[in-house]
């Protein structure tokens, strides 16, 4: 006798969910929706009760949390799920994780937890193991089964992104890891509590296996409290609507949302195929050394997204050509890959009153087994696959925008080459106190790209969370007392140019203050400036730019402060001050991408730049009045306006139209002179490919990706290479 409806086991419920959809094409086989048809207002009221419960859980739960990402930035999520794992509704927050929940619940079924350790009223199940649903160790999930008269009728799910994961690199974004054994405190599905309370031993794990035990315990209590709140709201809804209505209603909500989604695709998109892609470079060579010989190399990653919308409106994202899994932080299991990709799908297609798993019924993925998006090694490191493979969400936004543009729904084109950036800290203060921190704030406030009708905006969008929030510097300084923020600003000219330019990137400067005995800073970025953010710009605009990190070690910054010299507020100002001899340093390090454990001392400067987003359309088409504004507010300098946009702005800030016309004509002449017919270029490039005249890092990428038949055929077909060609 199982815990589900009509005595079904959880294994049967999960199997039935997948089978019935395949057989009928409807979620839970619902061809008819009697509750919706007979009284749609009542169903909406029912749904609103559940959504309100999730939102209420979030707002009360976050007051218990201690990590700044949860407390201030809202990086948490509460959900109601069906017994088989479909999310019906959620709070605001980290909505991508909704897509992981079916995998999370399926794990309990696959592991037959119903039999041992048993799934009972009041049990709390925790998990952050990438193999079982959650994307990586920083994303901690909690599931609370909801019973009615002894029958499992739903799950309350809670999750948040914690500040410190206990990995080999401190913080919540460890950009080095060789295997699951260096990923941090990774726990598979675990019955961590009973009778609506976490066990004491569970609390001890947080204290002993992570560097921020005190904060992580409070976050754990927050997840439990929020899930219990959701549990209570579900029972109130059953009281109000009746158990039969509840059981049927949650299925109808999902099917209704699925149909709305399919309708949206057929309305706003065109059927066909769109290719969108990006590249990323990760360098471990000479950093990892003898300890991790299998990781002691560099990688150039190829992230293809070949998306087809078929006549029935189903979307088929194909990742074939993705690099092979390896001993690095960038792997991710399919649940995580799909969850984070959904972050680029929600803004484009999910416009109903709540987020749910209807997307999983509209998407049919191909993520090849053995690739870094579907590792065959169960012990593969997945510490930051969310930010490596996961950031396929960016090509998804580009792909949807291309489909919508073709159909004429220009207002729905929403482009961005997001450039997430974060850092982790680990230190020992003068008095011997050990501490750590993880900073997520830049990820909470990205910029957006240029759209077909307006410029991108700075600091106003978070891929991870529809409610973007930069957090509060003051609180971060309290939790990270070594990081004195002396500068933060939008950086002029730091964007992808276009008829509508990308949102300007942001720069920040930290003065390292009294770190005591030891301080190490580790950087994570999804977008190394070695490759840029996306493989293509949009309609003639330039792609988004990558991130940048500087460390100025042993500076004279304290002396400059005493003298009242203006502080550098971004990486460009700092560099100029250094070049001019005003700012001095014993050494300067610059990193275009991830880097782990850079030792810092009192008076060092840690400087970052990120979020320079993509442009749309030919810059030579940009309107004069927009360029006048750019110059007026200092977003673009006059030389850039003249050289890139072909517009001359006089001393009064007005465009000289006659000179501008001539300048634009001159740039077009230059284009004519410097360009060749693609056919001629193709012939020269083909020869290079035949001669194997290619940089080793790129050659290694091609060798790897050519193990996939599709990519191999494409590469050989385009360059007309022999069948036995290899690099």
């Amino acid at each position: 006798m199982g815990i589900g409806e009509n005595g079904k086991t959880l294994i049967e419920l999960v199997e039935e969910r997948e089978r019935i959809f395949k057989e009928t094409g409807h979620a839970y086989g619902l061809k008819d929706m009697p509750l919706l048809d007979s009284d749609p207002v009542k169903l909406m009221k029912f749904q609103s009760r559940l959504i309100a419960g999730c939102v209420s859980a979030r707002e009360t739960g976050r007051l218990i949390a201690a990590s700044p990402a949860a407390l201030l930035m809202g990086e948490l999520l509460f959900m109601v799920a069906t017994p088989a794992g479909d999310v019906i509704c959620s709070s605001h927050g980290l909505v991508g994780h909704i897509q992981c929940v079916p995998f999370f619940i399926k794990a309990f079924a696959d592991l037959n937890y119903e039999e041992n350790p048993g799934i009972n009223e009041g049990d709390l199940f925790s998990c952050n193991d990438g193999l079982y649903g959650p994307p990586h160790a920083s994303d901690c999930y909690l599931g609370l089964p909801i019973f009615h008269d002894g029958e499992l009728i739903a799950w309350a799910i809670a999750m948040n992104h914690i500040a410190e994961a206990g990995a080999v690199v401190a913080g919540n974004l460890p950009a080095f890891s060789a295997s699951t054994f260096t990923d941090g405190f990774v726990y598979p599905p675990t019955k961590s509590g009973e009778n609506f309370q976490q066990h004491k031993w569970w609390e001890m794990y947080w204290h002993r296996r992570t560097r921020l035990g005190r904060i992580n315990v409070l976050d754990d209590k927050m997840r439990a409290a929020g899930a219990i709140k959701v549990h209570a709201i579900v029972h109130e809804a059953i009281e109000e609507f009746g158990i039969d209505y509840f059981k049927q209603g949650i299925k109808e909500i999902l099917e209704r949302e699925r149909r709305q989604l399919m309708n949206l695709i057929k309305t706003q998109a065109v059927p066909g195929k769109v290719n969108s892609l990006r590249f990323h470079c990760v360098r471990y060579k000479d950093q990892i050394g003898k300890l991790f010989p299998n990781s002691d190399r560099d990688w150039l990653f190829h992230f293809p997204l070949d998306m087809t919308i078929t006549p029935d409106g189903v979307m088929h994202p194909d990742y074939e050509g993705l690099n092979t899994e390896a001993d690095f932080h960038g792997n991710i299991h399919p649940s995580g890959a799909i969850a984070i990709a959904a972050l680029g799908q929600w803004p484009m297609v999910a416009h109903s009153s709540t987020t749910n798993t209807s997307l999983s019924y509209a998407m049919d993925y191909n993520i090849p087994k053995g690739s870094m998006g579907n590792p065959s090694n169960p012990f593969a490191a997945v510490s930051m696959g969310v930010g490596v493979v996961g950031y396929q969400c960016v090509p998804f936004q580009q792909a949807f925008s291309t489909f919508f543009f073709a159909k004429g729904f220009y207002e729905e084109c929403f482009l961005r080459g997001a450039t997430p950036y974060g850092y982790g800290l680990e230190g020992i203060f003068e008095d011997g106190e050990r501490w750590a921190g993880g900073n997520f704030s830049c990820i909470g406030a990205d910029s957006t790209g240029g759209q077909p009708y307006k410029d991108g905006s700075p600091c106003n969008g978070a891929l991870t969370n529809p409610e973007s929030d930069h957090g509060e510097v003051e609180l971060f300084e309290f939790l990270e007392p070594t990081q004195l923020n002396i500068g933060r600003k939008l950086v002029p000219n730091y964007c992808g140019h276009g008829k509508f330019r990308g949102g300007l990137g942001m720069g920040g400067v930290h003065l390292i203050t009294k770190p005591g005995q030891h301080l190490a800073i580790s950087i994570f970025t999804s977008v190394s400036s070695e490759c840029g953010a996306t493989g293509t710009g949009d309609c003639g605009g330039y792609p988004a730019l990558g991130t940048v990190t500087y460390f100025y070690h042993g500076t004279n910054m304290y002396e400059l402060l005493d003298k009242g010299v203006p502080y550098p507020s971004d990486f460009i100002e700092a560099k100029k001050m250094y070049d001019d001899g005003i700012l001095t340093a014993e050494s300067v390090e610059c990193f275009p991408g991830d880097i782990s454990n850079i030792a810092c001392k009192d008076g060092d400067l840690y400087i970052w730049g990120c979020h320079a987003n993509s442009g749309w359309g030919d810059p030579l088409e940009r309107f004069y009045d927009l360029l006048e504004e750019d110059v007026k507010y200092g977003w673009l300098t006059k030389d850039v306006v003249q050289n890139v946009y072909g517009v001359v702005v006089d001393e009064d800030g007005k465009v000289n139209e006659k000179e501008s016309e001539a300048q634009r004509k001159k740039i077009k002449e230059t284009r004519k002179e410097k360009s060749v017919d693609t056919k001629d270029w193709w012939k020269a490039e083909r020869k290079k490919m035949l001669d194997k005249d290619i940089h080793e890092l790129a050659a290694e990428m091609y060798r790897d990706c050519m193990t996939y038949e599709k990519f191999s055929k494409q590469l050989k077909g385009v360059w007309q290479l022999p069948d036995d060609y290899n690099l």
């Binding site: 309305t267 706003q268 065109v270 059927p271 066909g272 195929k273 769109v274 590249f279 150039l300 006549p311 416009h351 543009f405 073709a406 159909k407 004429g408 729904f409 220009y410 207002e411 077909p452 009708y453 307006k454 000219n493 730091y494 008829k499 509508f500 990137g505 070695e530 490759c531 840029g532 493989g535 293509t536 309609c539 003639g540 330039y542 730019l545 990558g546 940048v548 460009i572 275009p592 320079a612 749309w616 030919d618 030579l620 088409e621 309107f623 077009k668 284009r671 004519k672 360009s675 060749v676 017919d677 693609t678 290079k688 890092l697 790129a698 091609y702 590469l715 077909g717 385009v718 007309q720």
Partner: protein
């Protein structure tokens, strides 16, 4: 209400990039969307271009797929320049400038730290051979095939989704023919 918010004049301004943001937001909020949008857009685009070929789809700011008589569907620039069969990536019939050095890329990537690593990456700009408008930009590793950004399934769109089948329907319209062109080039 939807018809008013998204009337033809407004959509025309949206296409031109001159519709105020507040009014764009009104169109974003439309639920349901105006059901004659595609027809309106095609009408506006047809009026906008200086040539007579029938616009089937707009695939980029300046590029259209047009019907040329019976049996030909080609990519065409707003200026009138044609790029051949839409099943072949139009980039192969464009002009290309490849920026290979830091100095060349610095002309358009105006913050030095944002310049890609030119040891293995390059920037490609694709121009229309007729008017030299910039149609596309790629930042890719050396040797990467030009990216075929969109291959629409036009017959399904017109027949099944719009209920207005095209006269020259054929099963092979939804087929990437780029390598057929490179095959020809390879023989030269």
């Amino acid at each position: 209400m939807g018809k008013e918010v998204a009337r033809k004049e407004k959509i025309k301004d949206l296409i031109d990039g001159t519709l105020p943001w507040n009014e764009v937001k009104d169109i974003i909020r439309l639920k349901p969307k105006d059901d004659d949008r595609f027809e309106k857009v095609i009408e506006i685009l047809q009026e906008k271009v200086s040539w007579d070929d029938k616009v089937l789809l707009r695939i980029s700011d300046k590029l259209y797929i047009v019907a040329k008589g019976k049996g030909e569907r080609v990519v065409k620039c707003e200026c009138g320049q044609e790029f051949g069969d839409y099943r072949v990536n139009w980039k192969y019939n464009a002009r290309i400038r490849v920026r290979k050095t830091k100095e060349e890329i610095a002309e358009v990537v105006t913050v030095e730290d944002g310049i890609p690593n030119t040891d293995f990456m390059e920037m490609r700009e694709f121009y229309c051979p007729g008017c030299y408008v910039q149609l596309g930009v790629e930042v890719v590793p050396h040797g990467y095939p030009p990216i075929f950004e969109i291959l629409p399934d036009l017959d399904t769109l017109y027949r099944d989704w719009l209920g207005k089948p095209l006269e020259d329907e054929s099963p092979d319209w939804f087929e990437d023919r780029t390598t057929k062109l490179t095959e020809e080039w390879g023989k030269e």
